[in-house]
């Protein structure tokens, strides 16, 4: 082996090494890859709220109702509601040709827990309903949803809404 690296062979090896190094050195330095910032808990919750509202506005009953925890509580105007009760009611509306053509969120405010597995969101929700009654097409609601992250999934532990009316 020593004999092989002597003389001409060694000379060519040095030339080749120099050539490879020179070629490598002449390439522009790779741009530093900008690392995506890790999503915060607030980012996660905001995204989940947007999915939730999108499912509502597109009459995706299972996607929408699936956001509610099975053991969650709900305050509707004047009474309590359950996930199953809401599922039955909303399925009936959508299956009957009703539902929404739009659902738009504004004024979203979020508080998160120090442990990162709880959050409360509040926002204004403006919807357009599918209805023959022109006076019932537009509605605006004050919304509050408290979310828990269980087994890696955010779901609504408590939900409270009321319509915004002249009386408010």
């Amino acid at each position: 082996m020593r004999r092989v690296l002597r003389g001409r062979n060694l000379h060519w090896l040095i030339v080749a090494a120099f050539f490879v190094a020179a070629c490598g050195g002449s390439e522009p330095a790779p741009e530093p890859v900008a690392e995506e910032p890790m999503p915060t808990v607030e980012d996660e919750v905001r995204e989940r709220v947007m999915e939730f509202v999108s499912a509502y506005g597109s009459n995706d009953v299972e996607g929408y109702i699936g956001a509610f925890a099975a053991d969650g509580t709900q305050w509707w105007p004047g009474r309590r509601q359950t996930r199953d009760g809401y599922h039955e009611l909303w399925s009936g509306v959508v299956d009957g040709g009703g539902g929404l053509t739009e659902a738009n969120i504004s004024d979203l405010q979020i508080h998160t827990s120090p442990a990162g597995d709880g959050a409360v969101t509040s926002y204004l929700l403006k919807v357009k309903r599918i209805t023959d009654d022109p006076e019932r097409v537009d509605a605006t609601y004050q919304m509050s949803a408290t979310w828990f992250k269980r087994d890696g999934e955010w779901s609504i532990a408590h939900f409270h809404y009321n319509p915004v009316t002249d009386a408010n």
Binding site: D71, G72, T73, W75, P77, G78, R80, D107, Q109, H111, T112, S113, P114, A115, G116, D117, G118, A119, V120, S122, Q142, M143, S144, T146, F148, K149, R150, A157, H158, H160, N162, V164, A167, N168
Partner: protein, 160 residues
């Protein structure tokens, strides 16, 4: 037979700590719910007693709020309620019922929902009693529960 007994004993030794942890978690959950219930009871007690300082001490500085007049913050609520008590005498009673509490897995965020019934001290021409649907969300900061969001509404008249 001995092997089976040994295996069963080994499994029991492995499983016992897990059972213990589950039991402890349930106890922690009950204790946390009791803490939240105490905080909400204190909220209603100070509210009904027109104790402005004690009442507002339970709200976080960054409070968000949905009420009958839309979005308010702590400062606006404090100004309103102080003026209301000074001009009317505030409330003569406040009571909670139908309390339900849920605590997040991490144990530092909770939501309570309940009915709050109040009587005005000097109703004048206003209705003497009002009933609200309440939903405060609380966060535990520096060892104390504080309300970061409140959604409430007057219970509407039942639709005919």
């Amino acid at each position: 037979m001995r092997k089976i007994v040994r295996l069963a004993l080994a499994l029991a030794v492995v499983a016992l700590p897990a059972i213990g942890v589950a039991g402890a978690s349930a106890q922690d959950g009950a204790a946390l719910e009791a803490e939240v219930a105490d905080a909400v009871a204190q909220l209603t007690e100070t509210y009904g007693a027109n104790d402005i300082e004690g009442y507002f001490a339970l709200y976080a500085p960054d409070l968000t709020w949905w009420g009958p007049s839309g979005r308010w913050d702590k400062a606006k609520y404090l100004a309103y309620w102080t003026e209301y008590i000074e001009s009317t005498g505030g409330l003569s009673s406040a009571e909670n019922s139908d309390m339900q509490i849920a605590v997040a897995p991490g144990g530092d965020l909770a939501v309570a929902s309940y009915i709050l019934s109040v009587s005005r001290a000097n109703p004048g021409e206003a209705v003497p009693t009002v009933t609200y649907q309440m939903s405060p969300t609380l966060v535990k900061r520096d060892g104390s529960w504080t309300i970061v969001h409140l959604h409430f509404q007057i219970v509407p008249e039942p639709e005919e």
